[in-house]
Structure formats: structure tokens, C-alpha cells
Symmetry: D2
Subunit: 330 residues, 4 copies
């Protein structure tokens, strides 16, 4: 482009957005706006953000595979163990969550731990277990990626690449994940402002990958009663400011099993597009974050409370729509 | 009492609690437990807290007058202007909120402002306006008290004494408010832990006044997208730890009108017993916090969304039960 | 004044400041500026703050009695027990701190405690002990006041009224303390911004009392390694923005004895005008915050390190100047 | 080792530490302690941390090349531009800082920026400029590495690998940096506790690389008057808890040039082993963080104030010792 301007192209269902970097003079803007096919030229600061709702007024629907969509009318539950431990345990947990109403299986193969002596996940073996589970159960899988050099391997085994809170500012990882073309679940950093969260999303979007899902998981504050402070205000802000779907992870936010249910319901009421939940069939033996994992009973109770709430909010549960779709042979 | 122990008596609907201060030896505890009529002697740290759910398993119902109860089955909405400005404006706003589904009128006569040049409220004149409004409309009134020397006057004009976030640690004020016998609405401090919030409640309870209502209104964090960060995790913790009813103030927490609705719904879903809302019929002219006040239309829309949500949660709206009760002549 | 403007008069050593509230038109400003004797009319937002350095370019020197000045060339140490416990203990501690280099005795008679069952201080009896100590030792005394109704009594026994962090937003107390005419030591609130801290100072200054001393004592953050996070950046900001002297309390900020010395030295290097230190001759028996109190040995070691540091900074220690002044008979 | 225990070996100047992972029974511990040559077996939680002062009582001296040591008796200043822009500008700045008293040149080639449209650094070209500068000036260079795949290239051009605050939890990067064998400057994360900071250091130390330098650069809090809140309490804690040298970066912490000097002096007084400073000869043209860069005059003034302060603290400035050593031909 002229005047040292550079641009990237971002196709979408209803319009194509061009992000132009550099300082364009008034003449250039006027000429661009007059170009046939150009609907609008947004110049105010912030407007260039590909995640802005002003750029795409409708919430982006991210197709995560196996007929599941995040950001559509239906509310999506992703559930599973914090860390993948063995095929047997993963099997048990998948049955519980899939039957209970989850549409996505979550499970960590690579775990970022504050101390090197803590359990770091099964790594490649964990990926293989997830891939096998996904094949058997026909359920999309989300798992975390920690290292740009692992992106290809993770993208092969999983349907959604999770960028953890501790890596939200790891821009090289964000770019590599974006380039994989896979949907990216971007957790908010422990001390990241909403503004920086959107900046991180932009790193992925600028690779040409529009499949970004945000996930609020609690921020660091002075309050010790919960592990982190779940910021549902940020969810409400994110839904207004951007067009990306937003999930909420009440398990990591609170770190306490008995607080997951009230905050999961609150997240739905605040306008979140879904949940990310820790579920374990034997939390007392879990190798990671057992205190926050819902048991099978807890999970069922939560889903039983969630369904009427979603009805009141005018939103079906994704797994219910899917069953209906499959159940309808015509 | 023996051994330098002192105690205070706290009667309740189903049992009477005695709070004993000092270090009692095992012999004393054993003997107290054996005393006829004594159900239990709780000694572990924290157990002596009069607010603990272990002490009173059922949520305290606070009768705030005019047939309104906070902490019962019904969900209570308190709404009104941030600051009382004039009889005419107060009249307008009261009509809107009372017809729309609020059971309590809120309005500030004394306003704590960070700078002395800001509008400080109408003071005694504001109290008189609130008192007149309450007489005309037969609606209980909650208003803030800032100074122990004003407690008597405020207690005469209002049904509930509000202790603001900036005064949560003002223990002399808490004690004076407690001694008035009026219900006390205790807002959480900007940087108060849940533990300290309960400590402040204890100051009121120890005066022998059991009518304490907690109110979460957002805490100070690094996030600038909202004025404060609403901590619904603290609401869930407070409901489990204590037996006091908990309200949520999404207006002050967010400081932005468009975020009040999602967070009000979230608060209900998280288990709050009610809401405290800023409503103004002409927010652009409000002398205080106009950016966060709901308009009449906003308020009606919120109530329209809140009712089905409460039904899903199995909780009626207080104003609806009251209308039913009044509407039933038999 | 015309146009509904109101003003207050604030005399000072070199100029008299008039704070005018209300919106003055350009004509009024021009006319005021042309009035004989008027040096300058400041109108930009913030300029009206009586604490602004733009209004008084030189640091305010607060005469706290007994020949001690805070905010002058000399660096001032205030030290003593967190809470006054008995005449004997207070005597011991006073000897240690007065001989060691403190110019002001600190000690709490009224203690704000998060839980009502904690030791609340000796109250009036504590005040009497402080008054006696001050008479015997000829040392100015600073003590906290919690209730507007106690201001007169405290002002009679003490030379400086301390407003604690938990009461920084207690504006009724600030006004009453200001009206006493006594110097006011204003601690920063646990979650107060520098802006709000200055707003609180303004409440005192607007009563016509210019003797305000600020005190940074740590803010609430996520870090649990120290009780609070000492914010020396705020000290540097406060010294640039305003003309009020600023002390630092490393004892309450850290809550750990072994961290007091490094942070006390850091405070001096950052430009603070003095320190507020917890010292106790038998910390293991202290009824309040024993873990943070310096022993006599700790205090002497700190002072031994502080003196050369102050020399390097070009600032004498206040107690040394005083001894010199007294020791010089000519 | 027996019982599934694993160990890593960490040689040091005075003793060799073996970190053993796994749960050793009492019998094993007793037998290990009785092994000839074993001085001590530390088992309490935390003791296994290779960074603990209990493990190495003396501060680790990190030789960063060109005769410069961090963590020794001398206080070390690292200074330079936030981002490397051109050879000419880098030349100018290096002259200023090297003549003024800095012993290490800092400069960013890869810049982590919150938004992808911001200047991201010159990358490989920036590395080449730094390497040339270091060759000409014979000054060690510190620069940030963002991606595990860049570690080898950065290790070739720089003497110290900087891990930025946003990557403190990027454990794959930490491990790769550790394996390079180069000294690693580990900045504290924006919301990392001291505990997590030490956990991150452990990731590097466990690769067998003992050359870790910590750097405090401010944490996220509610206070907007400074960009971050410099936590000198954490510096004092880190110096007591661990044996690693600790630097302080007052430039990034405050984000405001006029606050750098007071906080730099405070850091030295708090016990830091050195400083990391942004210096730019033409800050108004800087492509990154110009508002916080010291000018040549600012830098000289800071050094002029720092020298007497260091003398009072009993610590020479590293560049002065070096000049003396070089200046002494015998």
C-alpha cells in the first residue's frame, strides 16, 4: 500500500475487514472510503482492533469441530480433569461430563506449575490419551500449549489450543498458535487488564486466524478467601467491547469446589457464552488442583441448576440442541 | 462470669447465643456444655463469631419495616437515587422504582465524597425529604450515616442505616449504629477481606443488634474498565460462612449504567438476597454518580429480565409477594 | 463573594492563599488577578487544592511542639509502642527511643481492631499515661483518634492527632480533627489512591488548619510476604505534587521486624521527611503487633545506619540538631 | 537413587548442593546425613529450593563478563535504551552511561508489546547492533529474550539473557535460557508473589545454571499515579530468603522520569545489589517508553547522588572499583 501503510486481510461471514497499520492522511482515508465495495473506514484509536464489536457487530461463532460451536445461541460447557492422568480415569470423567451435558472435553497434557518439582503433566503421552478419547467419544478436545515448538503436535491432537493465563503475554506463543489455524482459547492473565486481553487476542487475529475464544478465570487481588477474584464485570465489558465469544472458568477462579456452582450460574447470567469446569471422578486422588474439581454428583447438580437458568435467559444448552438435532431423523 | 470471662447475650428465633470473651479452660467448657439448656459450646477459633452459619444455620431474616423482610425466601430490590436532590425528583424516582418492583427506597442525604468541594448531600434536609417520601409511599427507606453523632437523627428518618464502604472500619460508628437497634446495611470496604467484613459485622452484632445486612459493592483492583471489581466470589463465600443476608450493589461496583443489568442478574444467580440499585429519572442532571444510574427504562428492562431468572432460581421477587398478599382480601 | 462563590482563607509564612469554590467566569478571574496584592490566580483543575506544591512551593514546616518541626531540613523519627500498656513499660520505651534519636513519642490509646474481641487500647487511661510521659520527658506525643467525639480529649493530651489508615475516608473525623487546630498526621488508606489521600488532606486544610503531615503505611496488594506493600513511589509522588511533609511507617507496612530497617533506610533515601516506628522493649509480651516492633537493640542499630545515610542525603537527624542547639550556650 | 528419588547436582564455590525430588523416609535421610562429605540434609518444605539462603549463606556472585560481577560487594548499574534503535543512537547512549558509571549496557532487540501494532524492536538487527557495541566498548550487554527458539542467537550476542516480567511464568523459556549457561536476569511478574518469583528462579537453577539475577520492576496495584508499584519490601524479603543477587528497575516501575531518582536511591538503601535504568539521549524521539527514560543530565545527577549514598551504605559503585583496578598498573 501507499505511504508505507501495511495491511492484513480478515475475511468473515458477512464482511471482510482490512487492518491497516501506519498513519494514513485524510486524503487516503477519503479515497479508501470512496472505493467501491468499502462499507466503512474506521480511524479512531482502538477501531483498528479486529476484535472490536464495532468492526463485527455480531458475536463470532467459532466452529470447534464435531458439530460444536462456541459463540452461537447455545451455551457451551467444556469440562474434564485439570490434568490428564491415565486412559481409565480420563474415560470415566469423559463419560460423566459428556452424559451430563458438556460439549467439549478439557484436560491438560502440559501443565505450567509455579515450582519445577510439581507434577508437570504427562506431555506427549497425555496428548495421545486425549486424541484417543476424542476419537472414541466424538467430542472436541481443548488442551493447553506452553511452547511455540509444541504447537504443531498439540494442534494435531486437540481441537482447541488453550493459552493459559500465565502465557497470555507470551506473544510468540500466541502468534504460533494463531498460525496453526486451530481455534484458540485465550485465558486472561492474572493481572491483565481487559485492554491487554484484547491486545493479546489481536496477536492471534492478526495471523489471519479469526477463531479466538476468550476465557475469564479470575484475577489477582488482596482477597485470600478465594484463590483468585472472578471478574464478571470484565466479562460484561468484553461482551460489549468485542465480538469474540467469552467463556468463564469458575474452577480455577475460586479454587474451591463448593463455590463453583454459584459462580458458574452467575457467569451464565452475566452473559458468558459458556463454562470451563474442572471435573474429576476421584478428586482426592487428582494429581493437580483436586480441591477445586467437581465430583460427578456436583457436576450433575450444577447442570440441573444451569438448565432452567439458561431457559430463563433464553439460551439452550449446546449439548441439548445437539442431541435434539441428532434425534431428529428427518 | 468466672475466670475473668465476659459474655453478651444474643437472642434469636430458634436459639439464644452467648458470646463469651476470654480464655476458658477445658473444665469451664465441659461444665458449660453440661449446663441444662445448653445445646452446644463452640470453641474453635472463629466459632465465637455471632455471624457464623455454624452458630445459626438458617439465614437471618431482617424485618426492615412496612412488611418487607431481607434474607427470607423472597429476593429484595432496593432502588433510588444516589443522592436525594429535591422532593419532586425523589417523588418521580420513587414512583418508578416502587411500581417497577423495588421494595426499599434508597437515597443518600449525607454523601462521603473524596474531595471537600464535591456535593456533600442535602444533610438534614435530605433526611426530611426521605422521611416524607416514606410516609407517603409506605416504603422502607435506607440511607447512609457518616458520623456517630448523626445516628439518632438518621434512625428517626430511615428504616435501615447504611454504613458505607469508606466507613466499614469506622468501628465507633458501627457500635453507635448497632445501639440504635435499627437494621444496619454494612457495605464491604474497598480493600476489606471477607474476614474483616465479618469482623465489622461482629461490632454491630455485639451491641445486641442482630439486624445486620451485608452488601458487596466491588473492591479495588488494578482493572480500570470498571470503577471497582465486583466480587461475587465473596458473596458466595459470605453466604456459606455466615447467616447474614447479603445484597449486591452493581451500580457502584461498575460505575457504568450498561454493566448494571448483567451484573445484577449475575448477583441473583450467585445467591445474593437482593440488590441495591442507583436509579434516576434524569441521570444527566444527577448531582452525584449520574453515569451509573439506571433510567426508568433501564430499570424496567432489568426487572423484566430479573423476574424469569428468579423463577428459575426458585425465588420470588419480594415486591410481587407483597402485592399478592395485599391483593388477597381473605 | 459575588456569583455564589465562597472562599476560605489560608494564611502561610510567605503568602496567604484563598480557596474559592464555585465556577468563576473569566471576567471575575481577570478582576481578581488585577486586585492589588494578588500574586496569582490559579484556575486549572486541581490547582485549587490547598495541598498543591504549585500553591506553596516550599514544604510546609509543621511545628509539633517542644521545639520539634516536621517538614524542615531535619529528618524526624517518631517511635514508641503500638499500644500504650502501662506507665512502667511506656517509661522504658520512651527512654530507649528518646536517647536513641527519636524526637516524637508515638503510642496508641484507642486502637482500631478488625475484631471486637481484640485488645482495643486503654482509652482515656492510655491518654493520661501519654500526657504524663510527655510532661516528664518533654517530648511531643502523637496518638490516634477514632471518634469525632474524642477529638477534644485527645487534643488535650497529645501534640499530634493521628488519623489511621482505616479512617482516612472518615471525613467527619477529619473535619473535627482539623478544627482542633492541632497538627494532624494523616495516614494513607489501605486502598486509597494518592489522589484520594490528598482529597482527605484537603478536608483538614479547609477547616483552616494548615498543620497536616502525610504518612505512607503500605497498601493492600496480592503479595502475602509482607503485611502490606510499602509504596515509596507514592511518597515520591506526594513530595512532588504537594507541599505537605510526608512520613513513612515501615513497621505497619511490613508487619515483620527484620524488614523495618531496610525499608526505613529506603524511605529516607526516597525523600521522606521522617519515620514512624514501632518500638517495644519486650515485643514478645506486647498486646498488639509484637511481631513488627523493633527491640531496643534493633532500634539502636537502625539509628546507627540511618545517621550516615542522612548525612549522605544532606539532612541532619532532628534529635541531633536539637541536642546541638541545646548544647550550644552562646 | 533408591526409592524413586531423583537428584540434580549444583556445584558452587564453597559447597555442592544436591536437590533431591521425591519423598525420602527417615531412614534414607539419616543414612544420607551420615555419608562422608555430606555437611547437612535439609528436609523442611522450601529447603529444597536451590535459591534458599539456608542452602547457600553467602550471596551468589554472578560473573557477567568483562570483569563485571553482580552480587559482590560493589553496586552495579545497568543502563541503556529501552529499545535499540540505531547504531548512532546506541553509541551516544553507551558513551553517556559508560562514562557516567554504568557497568552493563541494557537495550532491547525483541520487545514484548501489549498490542501487535506497537514497535516490536529491531529483532536480529538489534542483536547485531548490541554485539558490535559490546565489542567496541568492552561492556557486558543484557537484552531480553522472548522465545525459546531465539535463546541460542541471543546468547551469542549478549552476556546476560533477560526474562521479562510478562514471561516470568513462561517456564519453557526459563528452561531454555537456563540451558544456555548464560547469566539470566529474571524480572518479577506483574502479579507474581515472591514465592512464585523464586519458583521461576528454580526452573533456571534446576538446569544446572547457577547464574541467576533477580530484578524487581513493580507490581500491578490499584494506584494509577505510577505505572506499577515498586515493591521494595519484596527486595528486602528476597535478600533474606535467597542468596541470589537482586536488581531494581525504577524506570519501568514508575514510568515517569522524575520519579526514577528517588526510587533508585531507595532501592540502594533497601539493600538491592544494583539498578536497571532506562537512559536515552533524546527521549522525546524514543520509539518505546520515552516518558520514563533519563536524559544524560538526569543520569549524571542520579549517579552524583548515588555515590555518596553508597559510601554511607559501605558499598562501592562497581564501575569505580573497575576503573581503580584498571588505573593501577602495578
Amino acid at each position: 500500500m501507499e505511504n508505507g501503510l501495511t495491511h492484513t486481510r480478515h475475511p468473515g461471514p458477512d464482511r471482510c475487514v482490512f487492518a491497516v497499520d501506519g498513519h494514513a492522511g485524510t486524503a487516503t482515508v477519503t479515497r479508501l472510503a470512496a472505493t467501491p465495495g468499502v462499507i466503512d473506514v474506521l480511524t479512531a484509536p482502538g477501531d483498528q482492533w479486529l476484535s472490536a464489536r464495532r468492526v463485527r457487530p455480531r458475536t463470532t461463532r467459532v466452529d470447534v469441530g464435531f458439530g460444536v460451536e462456541v459463540g452461537g445461541d447455545a451455551f457451551v460447557v467444556a469440562a474434564g480433569p485439570c490434568a490428564v492422568e491415565s486412559q481409565a480415569v480420563l474415560n470415566d470423567i469423559t463419560s460423566v461430563v459428556a452424559l451430563g451435558g458438556a460439549s467439549i472435553l478439557r484436560g491438560g497434557a502440559f501443565k505450567p506449575r509455579s515450582h519445577p518439582a510439581s507434577f508437570q503433566g504427562l506431555g506427549a503421552e497425555g496428548l495421545a490419551l486425549l486424541a484417543r478419547q476424542r476419537e472414541i467419544t466424538a467430542i472436541p478436545v481443548v488442551t493447553e500449549v506452553l511452547d511455540p515448538r509444541h504447537v504443531a503436535a498439540v494442534a494435531e491432537s486437540a481441537d482447541i489450543l488453550q493459552i493459559g493465563a500465565r502465557n497470555m503475554h507470551n506473544f510468540e506463543l500466541l502468534k504460533e498458535a494463531g498460525r496453526s489455524g486451530r481455534p484458540v482459547l485465550l485465558k486472561r492473565g492474572l493481572a491483565a487488564t481487559v485492554d491487554e486481553w484484547f491486545g493479546a487476542a489481536e496477536y492471534v487475529l492478526r495471523t489471519g486466524n479469526p477463531h479466538v475464544i476468550l476465557c475469564e478465570r479470575g484475577i489477582r487481588t488482596f482477597e485470600p478467601a478465594t484463590r483468585f477474584t472472578l471478574d464478571l464485570g470484565a466479562v460484561a465489558v468484553a461482551k460489549r467491547r468485542g465480538h469474540l465469544p467469552v467463556l468463564v472458568d469458575p474452577s480455577h477462579a475460586t479454587g474451591r469446589r463448593e463455590l463453583v456452582r454459584p459462580l458458574a450460574l452467575a457467569a451464565a447470567a452475566a452473559g458468558a457464552d459458556g463454562l470451563l469446569l474442572d471435573v474429576h471422578t476421584a478428586p482426592e486422588t487428582a494429581r493437580c488442583d483436586g480441591a477445586q474439581a467437581l465430583t460427578a454428583t456436583d457436576f450433575d447438580r450444577l447442570m440441573a441448576d444451569l438448565r432452567p437458568l439458561l431457559r430463563a435467559l433464553g439460551r439452550p444448552l449446546a449439548s441439548d440442541t445437539r442431541v435434539l438435532a441428532e434425534g431428529n431423523p428427518t
